[in-house]
Amino acid sequence: MKTILTVDDSASVRQMVRIALTGAGYAVVEAGDGVQGLSVAKRQAVNLVITDLNMPNMNGLEFIRSLRQLPPYRGVPIVFLTTESDDSLKSEAKASGATGWITKPFKQEQLLAVAKKLLG
């Protein structure tokens, strides 16, 4: 079973992501900010990371950069959540090592399509 790490400070978004992904047969682990996200990622193997950019403690960009520097996470797809108004962040996130993005607000099907695209 593939494990997906979802990092978002909004519990409702995490919940929605979890419902969608577990319903599609993925295992989901969660973290509320970048710092927690890193510690989860170090503790267990994750096949895909979905992270918000706008978070307290450690923001998404920094989280993506730090994660990418961990040898086991070279090559693991990292998707960030963004809004249309934050379009400028997109290239910055990509430069930080992100694989793809999902534009908020999104529907469950969009989320699953991205997971499928990156995990097969």
């Binding site: 990418r68 249309e84 290239s91 695209k117 990156l118 097969g120």
Partner: protein
């Protein structure tokens, strides 16, 4: 949070928290308008509400918040200063968002428009007309497949970092294959010698021949995430294809367009969720783990017929630490509550034209979740009274040699198994004489009855006392205060009042740490056992035999020179049979009133898990709940405030009976 919790409910809880953060930030901004941290904090809260709101069907919330955010963005960029006027409107806007979330059917669109107009006027933000479109779900559905078959030649070459950044070219090629009839050839010209090969680098170029009914945009969409890091050549088999990149990220069909004006229905149930720090759960898991081991040991020993004393002790220790861990999970810092009061004081101070400073201390003090929620109302009453009636007008304060700015201190701290929450003002203080006069006039106390100051102060919580006719120096203090008393009693707490004329008043609420488990004193009356909450027990004495044989009339004990009325629980509970020869008296107190409870036997301390009484028994006054004893029997928990009230009533009855006889 269970798997099935509706995300919309979580959103409501979350939005409530975010709105509180927003409010705190806004109120702080009033004092420190240049603090960019605060501005960012407020902005982030708005941003999250907007983002999540749109996802869970709160379109109105998202649209409004978006406009709010745009206006506030100018503050963030330093183009507008957060002056008091702007903050007042921002606070209104925040309230409106809460209304949109909680009672969308009552929220008036007109009010929303007015707030936004004000906000825009102050920030001179350009009319954000496109805002609504920006927050609505995007309708950028991929074009439907055209019916004609088209042949495409596609060249795919990735930058060498593509693998490290998490994209998998093979999956993308699989996606292409899914679009139609597909033939993929790989070009490995660039592949270096094995010695020079970098395993994380992608050296290949692929050439794809695809025959499909999908348009070119569908092909480009396959590579949407990597378009910047690759060379993609798409040539049509017949007509020359135009180079171009799609402007939007991948989108599924948007489905049915959500009706923006559809009323957002709020579920009837409250979202009862709680956020728990992970380490507390870990701690609890550790304990549970130990408990499982202890249980295994117990089974083993029991099977072997060996002594189980050691394991019993182990399990006892584990149970109590598990209980503590569990209670820890239910604990919330009281700061979340205090945050609301800053707004309250802000509003009151504006309404009353008094300058008031609210100082909060001990915000990290933790309290049972239920308690925190139920404390909100009584504290609002106490603070409102302090601001309204305790603090004088600025002129009067200056005349009395005090600073013009009145100060209300809100202090929470732990004291043993209790939490103390004190609200003090530096206002005019309570006037015991006036309270006595008023109470005598209203017939609450007998004229000239001997009463301590504390007892007189407690009268302000009397329902009959809270009338508007109470004037001047006392000026209505007590309005709504009976609510405070009732709630605190319901939480098994008590209220202390200290006051000094001209210096101020302090009202201290004493509350047990949790509602679920108490330390109790187990007693026996006749054949039944009862539990008295240990926090209200002052002492236990033996019933002197002379009094023991006394009549049903007035019963008093002399406790170190003070007369304490007592109740014979045997009589109250209708126990037949002979009382024990040496009856005991448990002296209990509540809000400075004491009463003795005569029981047959004191059995000792008891950890009491409180179970509430059934609906049928909810009206039984003498008991606040029940608990299950170690032997499986049920013991009722004595409701001390009610028993004290019953004793006082009886005393009053005996008194009036006497005066009639006289």
């Amino acid at each position: 949070m269970s798997e099935n919790t509706d995300p919309a409910d979580i959103f409501r809880t979350e939005a409530a928290e975010l709105l509180e953060q927003l409010e705190t930030a806004l109120l702080d901004l009033e004092r420190a308008p240049a603090d960019s941290n605060l501005i960012n904090q407020a902005f982030r809260a708005l941003h999250t509400i907007k983002g999540s709101g749109a996802m869970f069907g709160f379109e109105q919330v998202a649209a409004f918040t978006h406009e709010f955010e745009s206006a506030f963005d100018r503050v963030r960029k330093g183009e507008t200063a957060p002056d008091p006027e702007l903050i007042a409107i921002a606070l209104n806007a925040k309230d409106f968002i809460r209304e949109l979330i909680e009672k969308p059917e009552e929220a008036s669109a007109v009010i929303g428009m007015c707030i936004l107009t004000d906000l825009r006027k102050l920030t001179q933000a350009p009319q954000a007309g496109a805002a609504l479109a920006a927050v609505g779900p995007e309708a950028a559905a991929p074009a439907p497949p055209t019916s004609e078959l088209q042949h495409w030649r596609i060249g795919v070459r990735f930058h060498k970092d593509v693998l490290i950044n998490g994209s998998n070219p093979l999956l993308l090629l699989d996606e292409l294959r899914a679009l139609g009839d597909c033939n993929v050839t790989v070009d490995c010209r660039d592949l270096p010698d094995l010695a020079a090969l970098e395993p994380a680098v992608c050296y290949f170029t692929w050439n794809v021949e695809l025959t499909t009914t999908h348009p070119q945009s569908a092909i480009e969409e396959v590579f949407v995430f990597v378009l910047d890091e690759m060379e993609l050549k798409i040539e049509a088999g017949t007509a020359p294809a135009t180079e171009g990149r799609p402007a939007v990220a991948t989108q599924e069909p948007a489905g049915e367009p959500p009706a923006a004006d559809a009323a957002i229905k709020r579920g009837g149930k409250e979202a009862a969720t709680i956020r728990v720090p992970a380490e507390r759960l870990d701690e609890m898991m550790d304990r549970v783990g130990e408990l499982v081991i202890a249980q295994a040991r117990l089974s083993q020993l029991a099977g072997a017929g060996a002594s189980t004393n050691g394991v019993a002790e182990e399990i006892e220790r584990l149970t109590s630490s598990l209980r503590d861990a569990m209670m820890g999970i239910r604990m919330l810092p009281i700061g979340s509550l205090f945050g609301r009061f800053r707004r309250l004081v802000h509003d009151i101070s504006r309404d009353l034209k008094k300058e008031i400073e609210l100082v909060a201390e001990g915000e990290e003090t933790e309290l049972d979740k239920t308690m925190v929620e139920r404390l909100a109302d009584p504290l609002i009453h106490v603070i409102r009274n302090a601001a309204d009636h305790g603090l004088e007008q600025p002129e009067a304060r200056i005349a009395a040699g005090k600073p013009a700015v009145g100060r209300i201190r809100l202090v929470a701290r732990h004291a043993g198994a209790e939490v103390l929450i004190a609200v003090s003002d530096d206002g005019r203080g309570l006037d015991a004489k006036r309270i006595r006069a008023k109470a005598e006039e209203q017939g609450l106390i007998a004229p000239g009855a001997p009463m301590s100051e504390q007892q007189l102060y407690q009268l302000i919580f009397h329902p009959g006392f809270s009338t508007a006719s109470v004037v001047s120096a006392l000026s209505g203090r007590g309005v709504g205060m009976d609510v405070v008393r009732r709630t605190i009693d319901g939480l098994r707490g008590s209220i202390d009042i200290a006051s000094e004329a001209g210096k101020g008043t302090t009202i201290t609420l004493r509350l047990p740490l949790t509602l679920a488990i108490i330390e109790g004193l187990l007693v026996r009356v006749g054949d039944a056992r009862y539990v008295a909450p240990l926090t209200s027990v002052e002492e236990c004495v033996e019933l002197p035999p002379v009094v023991g044989a006394g009549s049903r009339g007035r019963s008093f004990l002399n406790i170190r020179g003070e007369l304490v009325p007592f109740l014979r629980l045997r009589e109250m509970f209708g126990e037949s049979g002979e009382p024990d020869p040496h009856q005991k008296v448990v002296i209990v107190s509540h809000n400075d009133a004491r009463v003795g409870l005569v029981v047959d036997q004191i059995l000792g301390g008891h950890q009491t898990v409180i179970k509430s009484l059934s609906k049928f028994h909810a009206d039984v006054a003498s008991f606040s709940g029940a608990t299950i004893l170690g032997d499986g029997a049920v013991a009722l928990i004595l409701d001390v405030p009610q028993l004290i009230a019953a004793a006082q009533k009886r005393e009053a009855h005996v008194n009036s009976g006497k005066s009639e006889a006289a």
